[in-house]
Symmetry: C2
Subunit: 203 residues, 2 copies
């Protein structure tokens, strides 16, 4: 029995911080985990930028409300869920992800949460797990009697990809693909779906 | 952060074996975990009855195709999934559950699988985990940084209910409710939803 483990931002939906950076014209927020692998450092930096510009949670949520899943993501997930259990494993925050998950019919999501003060300022974040949370989550699912297949686009997906029976880079960057020549990389949902089906023995 | 853990048969959908027993008029298949807590014994017994009547997987799947979630179950799950991660944890089999999960927009399902031979005869079953699989699953979710709330109707739900921050009996029997006076019992989705919201601090 299989669980397919998918990264959220990149493979299924646009990068939330990038969309917000563009919407507000703040170039300092264009950095992602694909550029800065240390997520704590990245988040502390982002929270500092928000503070500098006096931007609150609701400002980011306004941008997210305008966002949609990537074209084809919903259809991909619909078909995937018809033959495999699916979980989305993300370093994003519940407060950001929920409206996007709604548009995908609420796949199970493992992610983190924000600390927000009374006036709506993001003051910090709570990481669900220390270390490589995606890897730890995949290991826990395996301990429950499942085999896993994983796909993601970034550095923080490499652990769960390596731990799984099979794993793929999806909609990743040239640099990351080049650094991991042993991991198959796909751009199209149809190709990723075919690869997942093959691993799971689905015709 | 919370995951709500729900039993499937009873709380969300009718008991599959009972529906099949009725559809085929086979009284010997009317026994469930609410009557026989030893699931291995129960399943071996059921497989024997199927063999005696020369009934195959596709015969049970025909009955399941006619079944629907309980009235209100879809709306309950839709609202629940808007504020909480949800997993369905069941002792049933993937081969039975998938069409019913489709009608509920595919909540994440932890369950077991069947062994079926070439001519479609059910020859055995693979339990995902030894022992109390629901309890083990809830503990693994907690190890991933979540608090859990659980609800179920039967003996095999008591472990996950006891392990969770809060747990409820839902659409259970008088006998089970009487044996577990410390567990709150509900019959209506609206009452269960209100109880889950209260635990999770949702207004």
């Amino acid at each position: 029995m299989f669980i397919t483990c998918l990264d959220m931002e990149g493979p299924l939906v646009p990068e939330i911080w990038i969309e917000f950076a563009k919407a507000r014209g703040i170039d300092e927020l264009l950095v992602t985990t694909r550029d800065e692998p240390d997520y704590h450092k990245l988040m502390d930096y982002r929270i500092g930028i928000l503070k500098k510009h006096n931007l609150k949670l609701k400002d980011i949520q306004e941008t997210i409300a305008q966002m949609s899943p990537k074209e084809g993501a919903k259809e991909f997930l619909d078909e995937l869920r018809s033959f495999s259990q699916v979980v989305v494993i993300s370093d994003t925050f519940q407060e950001f992800a929920t409206p996007l998950m709604k548009k995908l019919d609420y796949p199970m999501l493992f992610c983190n949460s924000l600390e927000v003060d009374k006036d709506g300022t993001i003051t910090g974040f709570v990481m669900r797990l220390p270390g490589d949370a995606k890897l730890t989550t995949v290991k826990a699912l395996q301990s429950l009697g499942y085999e896993t297949v994983a796909a993601g686009d970034s550095y923080n997906d490499i652990g769960m990809i390596g731990q799984s029976k099979a794993g793929f880079l999806f909609k990743s960057t040239d640099a990351i693909i080049k650094e991991h020549p042993h991991i198959k990389a796909y751009e199209e949902y149809s190709d990723l779906l075919a690869a997942i089906k093959e691993v799971q023995g689905i015709k």
